[in-house]
Symmetry: C2
């Protein structure tokens, strides 16, 4: 970046507007922020994106910023949280220019405003790096359960149904197409989605806070994330992969081997950013109906019973757990 523009000037022009005048942000002109206490407490999540690990070097910079926001927002929504404040740490490559930083800030601001309900950027740290771009976002929110506590992985009960919102697999198919591993012309919607996959509306959070016993966002792969609920809740989780909700494009795509192989690929692809929930059957009915009024689908894809571990079936046929069950780093 230009030596003639100080860090303070950059923050003033690009990031201070994203504080949206929030009182405790001090216009991003001080060294700290002040967050007044909500009734119960803050739910806090923190996720980073790293060039070469989480995105491709040529991805558009506004989309990279959006991915960062959505990784965090997805965690918060899955836990029944509503965003209230964000903090950005940015290690910006010396080789990238100010126009790129402007684009990054624009993407960040658009998502914080539009997807996160005008969530202010309250602070952070911007520095230069000689290496790849690394950005970390800390997002705080308030809970929607009666105690303000987040909905955890560990709350599943025997008898719960396992439910996922939206569809699974589009981000995976889109990424494969962008890596030239399958024809982009057959999955154009997936390609667009995969640039910055997004969670459902934050309006879903209060329904999760009200109805769900356990929850996790599907970011590392449906199978791996379902396994995490099974482990944390000390229960057996059965997933019926034929019930996994697919987009029209994903359902029509024939290129991943047998129908079972396709299901396993999509269920381990990750970056879906849909909440994976367990609920009592009665609460599922209420949740599904309320989510439908928001235009959000909820699909039953499994159940919780006494025992342990994750079992996969497709139309009644038991499937081996794939060696690669999802993304762990």
């Amino acid at each position: 970046m230009s030596d003639s523009e100080s860090e303070a000037a950059l923050i003033e022009s690009l990031f201070a507007p994203l504080s949206l005048g929030a009182k405790g942000s001090f216009g991003l002109r001080d060294d700290v922020a002040f967050l007044p206490s909500p009734l119960h407490g803050h739910i806090v999540t923190q996720d980073q994106i790293i060039e070469g690990t989480h995105f491709l070097p040529n991805d558009p910079l506004d989309m990279i910023a959006k991915r960062l926001v959505r990784r965090n927002l997805s965690d918060l929504i899955a836990k029944g949280g509503v965003p209230t404040a964000a903090f950005l740490s940015l290690a910006w490559p010396k080789s990238r220019d100010r126009a790129g930083l402007t684009l990054f800030a624009r993407g960040l601001g658009e998502d914080l405003a539009q997807l996160c309900g005008d969530c202010p950027l309250m602070g952070g740290d911007t520095s230069e790096t000689s290496g790849p771009l690394v950005a970390s976002l800390t997002m705080l929110g308030t809970g929607t359960t009666p105690t303000g506590q987040p909905v955890l992985r560990s709350g599943a009960q025997s008898g719960d149904v396992v439910v996922v919102t939206g569809v699974i697999g589009d981000a995976y198919l889109g990424l494969q197409a962008r890596l030239d591993r399958l024809p982009a012309s057959q999955v154009p919607g997936c390609v667009a989605f995969s640039l910055a996959p997004h969670p459902p509306s934050v309006a879903l959070s209060p329904l999760i806070g009200r109805y769900a016993n356990a929850s996790i966002d599907v970011s590392d792969g449906l199978i791996l994330d379902a396994q995490r609920i099974a482990i944390a809740s000390s229960l057996r989780v059965d997933l019926t992969l034929e019930a996994m909700p697919l987009s029209t494009e994903a359902a029509a795509y024939q290129g991943l081997g047998s129908i079972q192989e396709r299901a396993l690929a999509l269920a381990t692809g990750g970056d879906d950013y849909q909440p994976l929930l367990t609920l009592t059957p009665v609460n599922f009915d209420a949740f599904k109906e309320a989510a439908a009024t928001l235009g959000i689908s909820a699909t039953r894809i499994g159940k919780c019973t006494q025992g342990g571990g994750l079992q996969l079936t497709y139309d009644g046929l038991a499937l081996e757990m794939p060696l690669h069950s999802g993304w762990q780093i």
Copy 2:
């Protein structure tokens, strides 16, 4: 790192112990943390360290982690805050091994325990990078002013004295010696200090919260940080550099040119991690006496008056503002 060890296993063995059993950390086994609301609110700071920008590639990894903690702690103490929770984002180079990560986690844990009053690590994100090490820490704390608000840069009043705790310049001299720009044998204490410069005890925070009108930590250089108070408070700040407190080693070192040139070098070196405060003269006396009972020195190095800008003198002689007044990225 070894492919055989999952992210979850790494977190369990290296980072979960740093959560110190804090209830809302969920043992670092969930996707979010829960922070109960303190009486007024949280003060939040976030700073990162980047290999090649903030530390040298061969610096010991426990010292690198300590630098990260101390950068944040220094901000919090200067604002009158007492740490309550930390979150770590870590982009860990594939080229570094698990022993290095273990050392990093140990340094982090030692400082959070010993310098931050058993501050728990409540969450974060660990990922691999093909580039240099980047780590960001988000630190939350409670304020010690009557309203819980942080002491800002902008609160200085005309008539305030300008005060710094401890000594200035040791981190600069130590770094220069480590870069072979001056003989390490003449400043051994500075060399040791510069590996992980540390702020004063967190016991100082309540005194800052009680007595100071404005405050900033000296991290980018005394002159630049004093200028920031002048700008934020719309006042003139006069610094009398002959009063700048130096360690015995720094005072004895003769290698930086004239006595004025040495003062300017030390006052722009940065990484001092001492609070730079403005207080009424009466409050300064009380602060100084109370700080002394903690073994912390407080030295008057200037004053605030009507007007604007920063003026530098040495024994009454006006000094030009140096072209490089401190570190801005």
